[in-house]
Amino acid sequence: MTRADDTATAQAASRSEQWADLMRSALNGDAASYRQLLVALAPVLRTAARRILERAGQGTGDVEDVVQETLLALHLKRQSWDPASPLMPWVWAIARHKALDVLRRRGRRAEVPIDELEAVLADTAAADDGLAGHDVARLTQSLSGREREVVEAVYLSGASTKEAGARLAMSEGAVRVALHRALKRLAAIYGGGEP
């Protein structure tokens, strides 16, 4: 192993630590930390998804589907992470599960060793993969009118449920409940299951 590799590995380790801290705050309801974590994870997940799809001999057209499904799964299953354990093995296991799920739905089988995903974190190129321009229309189209309105109002309000509530003439609590339901339904539709 070269010194550069060592440095990359050490950086990856300290980043994982930081992300675990952000997740702990998120589980205590800190939306800003949570957003920071998800923004940081998205490009890493994108690189991992691309690798998995390429290995399975699939085009990379579905990469953003895998990224969004993984983000939804991380979100809905976040209580399955044990805050006393490292964050990234949990993230990789979920990313792999979701990528294999997408491949399975396309009738492909693939093996994805976790070690290979670990390498993504030390891969500096992964961090350069920006967020802009990744659009999946299928996602919002699949939500019913009211659910879509809530999700859209929340992101138009910059993740403020209070402001989204004002926009929709709903109480903040009602927005939170509706948002949570919409996200669950989104994952169910995405997973090909019934809502």
Binding site: V39, K77, S80, D82, P89, I94, V136, A159
Partner: protein, 212 residues
């Protein structure tokens, strides 16, 4: 929807809702045990000679065995519901009830004359055992699967199977209070068959219910 928009929507929903996996499992085990106890008492009832039986190591062994199975299986199912978690140490736990049962069978074979083996193995009540253990396990199984939905198992069928072992252990624990057959030979055959049935049902249900 763009991915950064999705992230905004997710971050607005930061605080988790509902109980954690550990709390949900604790609730499931407690309520499941209460349901199995009530079910047993309402249908079969504790055996009349229970006070005398408490002095018998064979009678007590049935509780130790089934409780051990329930405990290690719940632990393993919980671990299997945490993606990326190390499973080995929890999997090894399954050897505890297996070794307990093996030891008890060896001791029984050593201490009872060969002529009595068959009578002890067949027992008096095996048909009731095969009906009652799965029946008392149904509510615990349902509750455990409900709790495990908070987790994220890589294989719903396998986790369901382990949940079935746990539920079977709980059901058998309470059936044991009625069961007039105390020989480890009886336990090794009939309890095992009954619990295996519950585990199979758990696998079938888990494959559907624990998908995500």
């Amino acid at each position: 929807m763009k991915t950064d928009e999705l992230i905004l929507a997710l971050s607005a929903d930061a605080r988790p809702r509902g109980p954690s996996l550990a709390v949900a499992l604790a609730v499931a085990v407690t309520l499941g045990a209460i349901a199995a106890a009530i079910g047993m008492q309402l249908t079969l009832g504790i055996r009349p000679d229970v006070l005398a039986a408490l002095g018998s190591p064979r009678f007590l062994f049935k509780f130790v065995e089934t409780a051990a199975l329930a405990v290690v299986a719940v632990r393993l199912a919980a671990r299997m519901s945490r993606p990326g978690a190390e499973l080995w140490s929890a999997e090894v736990g399954l050897f505890v009830p297996a070794l307990l049962l093996f030891t008890a069978v060896v001791l029984e074979l050593a201490s009872v004359p060969e002529a009595a083996w068959e009578r002890r193995l067949v027992g008096t009540n095996w048909a009731v055992c095969l009906m009652a253990v799965p029946s008392f396990s149904l509510v615990p199984l349902g509750l455990l699967l409900w709790a495990l939905r908070r987790g994220a198992s890589e294989s719903g069928a396998l986790t369901g199977l382990v949940a079935g072992l746990a539920a079977g252990g709980i059901g058998a624990f309470f059936y044991a209070a009625h069961c007039p057959d105390d020989s480890p030979l009886f336990v090794a055959v009939w309890y095992t068959i009954a619990i295996a049935g519950v585990a199979g049902l758990g696998a079938l249900l888990g494959a559907r219910i624990l998908r995500w």
